[in-house]
Structure formats: structure tokens, C-alpha cells
């Protein structure tokens, strides 16, 4: 397992859970008030899923765990997550 990555690496793993592109979604840290795209937040992976931390204060923002019983998404450390409203988040060329 590699050391920490960033939110760019969430694009694939969260593509089945989110209907938007997680890399450009902006999260507001409930602990310190920092707001930035998930792409710019540190991400720690494990065999089960991903933990996104605040780049400024290191609080856990979001936990995404996939199990045979289903997908668990905890947004415990986020005041909000802002993402594009259109249903189709695809980046087109």
C-alpha cells in the first residue's frame, strides 16, 4: 500500500457512489473552516476504502468503505460538500 495520495485518486473508487466528479467537489471542514476541492485533500487508502483528511487541520472529512453488505459513506467532518448540479458530471472533450 502506498503512502498518502490526494483526492484525484477518489475519481474511480467513488464513481459508483457519487453522481458527480468528487475531484472538483468542494468540501468545508467542520473543524477549521477550510474549503477546497477534494482533489487537493490528502487521501489515505486501505483494502476497504478511502479516508479523506483536511489538508489544513488533518481532521477526517469523509470515509468511504465498501463491504459485501454495501457502501458506507460518512461525511462526519464536513459541514457541507458542494458539487455541480447537473446530473451528468462527465468531463467532455
Amino acid at each position: 500500500m502506498s503512502g498518502h495520495l490526494d483526492g484525484n485518486s477518489l475519481a474511480g473508487p467513488l464513481s459508483g457512489t457519487f453522481r458527480f466528479d468528487p475531484t472538483v467537489a468542494v468540501g468545508l471542514c467542520d473543524t477549521c473552516g477550510d474549503a477546497r476541492p477534494l482533489a487537493a485533500s490528502p487521501v489515505y487508502g486501505s483494502a476497504m476504502g478511502q479516508i479523506v483528511r483536511c489538508a489544513r487541520c488533518d481532521s477526517v472529512l469523509l470515509t468511504h468503505v465498501q463491504t459485501p453488505a454495501g457502501t458506507y459513506l460518512s461525511t462526519q467532518g464536513l459541514t457541507w460538500l458542494r458539487f455541480a448540479s447537473e446530473a451528468d458530471p462527465r468531463v467532455t472533450s
Binding site: 502506498s2 498518502h4 457512489t17 462527465r90 472533450s93
Partner: protein, 263 residues
């Protein structure tokens, strides 16, 4: 694929794939076939794949690659796209980590005709959109150059445009991925090289890690409002982005992609 101790990063799960695949095609695993494999350096090569159903991508995006062993064991890794635009053909470039699980397979074992699965295109943040008027500075460490090759190729295809600069840090000339392409001055892009171990004979800069002096000499200055992309191992990306911030580059104008690190 050798069965390693590393578990797959993604555990496939019915909830994740039950979604509307028309609205969420990006979550779908597409079967792909390797059509070409070209050595780039002694430890890396490019792979071309045909992916039926691929809908094109913008420069800077990546894919997830899933390998399945005969016993059903699966491993997933992310790889940047070296190409962009429409069509069903894509190019990746993989650097072998000696103790890695997936990269040695992709560099040494996989053959033309072999099948893998591809999920993508992924990520809309670490991208360059043709037509963006800002000057672009790219800073790469090792295999972090791959998404920049897609951007430079797209910049070449654009009729006119903003200046591109690439600062590429590698151990030695022989370790540089896409060296032939980058040394032949792609239209619109200036390339500067940093050699960390073995510089070519006659170079004035001693071997060593990229420093703030290198940034001052080669990076588009802050006054020109560049969009600065940094890509490479996590340690490289952190160090370089820290130096950029210290030199006054606003964080909002720096895009970073971290590939991982040994710990």
C-alpha cells in the same frame, strides 16, 4: 499476475455497480485490449489500448486499471492518460517499481493482445482544457510526466495558444520517459531538465534534487498568473508545491497530483 501481499484497493461491490450505468458510465469497467507496447526507458514502457465504448478524455485525466488473476484475485491501480481527444485508443505509460505488485506486470509481463479492464476517464480537476488562456507551467518528477505529455500533445495540436513550460526532474537522461519526444521541442512548449543523480556530461548544474533556485530559473513567474501543475511521487509533489507557495504562487493556481510513495 503474481499474487502479492497487497490487497486490491477497490473491493467490488454490488451497491457500487447497481447504479444507472447510462447516467454513470464512468463507473463501468470496460474491457480493453493491449495493441502496442513500446519501451520508454530501461524500467518503463508505454501501452496502447483499444477500449470499445471509450468516450474520449481531456488532457490530465487518468484511468483505473483492473487486473484479474485466474483465481479471481483482483488488483486496481490508477494510470494517467498520455493521450486525449475522441476515439477508442488510449495510451498509458508505466514505470516499474521493483517491489510493486502491478507495475512490474504491466512493464515486463503483459503482451499485445492481452486484456485488462479500464474505468474512466477519471478526474476533472487535474486537467488542462484547450482554450484556457492562462500560461501553463508543468513540473514533473519521474513518471509524473505522463499527464503532461497528454497536455503538451494537445497544445501542439492547438493552432495557437499560451506558452507551456515543462520542468522535468529525473535521475539521468536515460531515465526520462518520453525523452525523444520532449527533446525535439514540441510546438508551443519549452522543456527544462533537472538531473538528480547522473547529469549528462558537460552540464553546468550539479546533480541534486530540484531546489528553489531551479524554480526561480525555470518556472513561469507569479506575475504572469500561470496555472502551475505538479505531478510525481507524493514526497516530490509536497516539496515542490511548498516551494511554490513560499515563492508567492497562490494555492488556487497550483494543481497537484500525487502518485504515492514508499513509507
Amino acid at each position: 499476475m503474481a499474487r502479492g501481499t497487497v490487497r486490491p484497493l477497490v473491493v467490488e461491490n454490488t451497491a457500487a455497480i447497481r447504479g444507472d450505468t447510462v447516467a454513470r458510465p464512468v463507473a463501468t469497467w470496460l474491457p480493453a485490449t493491449i495493441t502496442a507496447a513500446v519501451p520508454l526507458t530501461e524500467r518503463s514502457r508505454s501501452l496502447r489500448l483499444v477500449v470499445p465504448g471509450w468516450r474520449g478524455n481531456v488532457p490530465g485525466q487518468h484511468v483505473d486499471i483492473r487486473l484479474t488473476a485466474p483465481d479471481g484475485y483482483q488488483a486496481v491501480r490508477s494510470y494517467s492518460l498520455a493521450t486525449s481527444g475522441p476515439g477508442e485508443h488510449i495510451e498509458l505509460a508505466i514505470d516499474r517499481l521493483p517491489d510493486g505488485e502491478v507495475s512490474p506486470y504491466l512493464v515486463d509481463v503483459a503482451e499485445v493482445g492481452d486484456k485488462v479492464e479500464v474505468r474512466g476517464p477519471l478526474g476533472g480537476w487535474f486537467v488542462w482544457r484547450p482554450g484556457d488562456p492562462r500560461p501553463v507551467q508543468m513540473i514533473a518528477g519521474g513518471s509524473g510526466v505522463v499527464p503532461f505529455v497528454a497536455m503538451i500533445r494537445a497544445r501542439e495540436a492547438a493552432p495557437a495558444g499560451n506558452p507551456f513550460r515543462l520542468l522535468y526532474s529525473v535521475r539521468s537522461p536515460a531515465a526520462a520517459m518520453y525523452r525523444d519526444y520532449l527533446e525535439h521541442s514540441p510546438v508551443g512548449t519549452t522543456v527544462n531538465w533537472i538531473y538528480t543523480r547522473n547529469p549528462p556530461p558537460g552540464s553546468s548544474r550539479p546533480a541534486g534534487r530540484l531546489t528553489s533556485i531551479d524554480l526561480d530559473s525555470h518556472v513561469i513567474p507569479v506575475e504572469q498568473d500561470p496555472l502551475t501543475f505538479v505531478c510525481g511521487s507524493t514526497g516530490f509533489a509536497e516539496r515542490v508545491s511548498q516551494m511554490l507557495i513560499e515563492r508567492g504562487h497562490p494555492a488556487s493556481m497550483i494543481r497537484i497530483e500525487r502518485y504515492g510513495d514508499s513509507r
